[in-house]
């Protein structure tokens, strides 16, 4: 997936309205939309688009969009 596509997907998945756009440096935990239910939507999104499963406790380590992409796997993204 292209990174820009992924950013749009994130905006959509998390229903982000507090900022106009996200990129790899955006800290998700700073967003007011990021809560425990948001994490569930990330899991659903990763299952749907990447067919991957990330251990639940690893979500606590997520900060920036980049850290989320690292967790999904760098190979899944192209610039």
């Amino acid at each position: 997936m292209k990174k820009t596509e992924f950013y749009d997907l994130l905006m959509d998945t998390l229903e982000i309205e507090s900022v106009d756009a996200v990129d790899e440096s955006t800290d998700l935990t700073d967003l007011e939309e990021y809560d425990s239910l948001a994490v569930l939507s990330l899991i659903a999104m990763i299952d749907e688009h990447f067919s991957k499963r990330i251990p639940g406790t690893d979500f606590q380590k997520i900060t920036t969009v980049q850290s989320l992409m690292d967790m999904i796997g760098a190979g899944s993204f192209e610039s």
Partner: protein
């Protein structure tokens, strides 16, 4: 020889906790957004002196209103908020309801899969001529296990009880089961203190949950992401398995009721499995997640509304704490 669901009674405690009330308690807590995503507007909360057994009794009185109590010869009470370590809640229920002393009674301890397992037991007692009419009661006061500052879980869980009468019939009303367990996930949905492993500790320190919420080891801990991971794997498999065991396909099923965990999770499972919208139950707006009571509450709702009609086949599936899961097919 065959078992059939005859009737369902429901009781929800009087006190209602609305999203607006939660929004007043917690900053940055958006009541509309919660309703949209969790699918919950309000949930019922047991009173200070109201236990799962009290709710169970009221649900039973509801279902037994026009019934001869002597016709019941087995009571199964499913709860994870027991009155005592001992005696058994179902025994106290026998006395409170004035059932015959020739009634069998036991408690089972299961969470969101409890109703499906309870049906399996009820059917088994009939298959073996141990009972003719089983009162299956699923009752929990999960809110008692929640920390007052645990906003995520206080948003999702509500208290409630359902009493289901399962009786004999010439036709098959409860078909084959798919059941499963994976205890490797036992730590992901747990109340760490309160049993014999670790005693309830009034001085247990606060623990931050990372999303602005707080709990202690006396309270429920839910690793939401891990539970979601588990359901994404387990539920499609158990649905496929129960269809196979009954030599059916999804098209043969008229309606599907899953444990109402939260809207987001349940809706995702629907899409993943490919169940059409109009055949799928999704309603926790006024109850929240009532653990083992969600499926009978849903079933009662669709039967009363005429969404499912006599003769329809309904696939039900429960999944959660343990991990434990199960599915079966019911003929109305």
């Amino acid at each position: 020889m065959n078992a059939v669901i005859q009737k369902i009674g429901v009781y929800l405690p009087e006190t209602v906790l609305t999203n607006d009330a939660l929004a007043r308690e917690f900053e940055d807590w958006n009541s509309e957004k919660v309703e949209k995503r969790a699918g919950i507007r309000e949930r019922h909360v047991a009173g200070e002196n109201e236990t799962a057994l009290d709710l169970a009794e009221k649900a039973c009185r509801d279902v037994l209103r026009d019934e001869d109590p002597e016709s019941v010869d087995f009571v199964i009470l499913c709860t994870q908020s027991p009155e005592y370590y001992l005696p058994t809640g179902a025994c106290i229920l026998q006395d409170r309801l004035g059932l015959s002393v020739r009634t069998g009674a036991l408690d089972i301890s299961l969470g969101c899969s409890g109703f499906v397992y309870g049906l399996a037991l009820a059917k088994s007692f009939m298959a073996s001529d141990t009972a003719d009419r089983v009162l299956l009661v699923t009752s929990d006061v999960m809110t008692r296990h929640l920390h007052p500052r645990d906003r995520a879980n206080r948003t999702i869980f509500g208290d409630g009880a359902a009493a289901t009468l399962v009786g004999r019939s010439d036709r098959e009303g409860i078909l084959n089961f798919s059941l499963g367990t994976d205890g490797s996930g036992f730590r992901n949905l747990i109340v760490p203190n309160g049993g014999m492993r670790h005693r309830y500790d009034p001085d247990a320190p606060d623990i931050a949950d990372g999303f602005g919420g707080t709990r202690t080891d006396n309270h429920l801990y839910m690793n939401g992401p891990e539970i979601f991971n588990f359901t994404i794997d387990a539920v499609p498999k158990t649905v496929a398995d129960v269809l196979e065991k009954n030599e059916m396909t999804l098209e043969d099923v008229d309606y599907v009721i899953f444990h109402q965990a939260n809207k987001y999770m349940v809706e995702y499972l629907r899409k993943k499995i490919g169940i059409p919208h109009e055949k799928f139950y999704l309603n926790m707006l006024y109850t929240g997640n009532t653990v083992s009571a969600t499926i009978p509450i849903g079933l009662n709702d669709v039967m009363k509304q005429g969404i499912v009609k006599p003769g329809d086949t309904v696939l039900v599936s429960g999944f959660g704490v343990g991990y434990s899961w199960g599915a079966t097919i019911i003929k109305i």
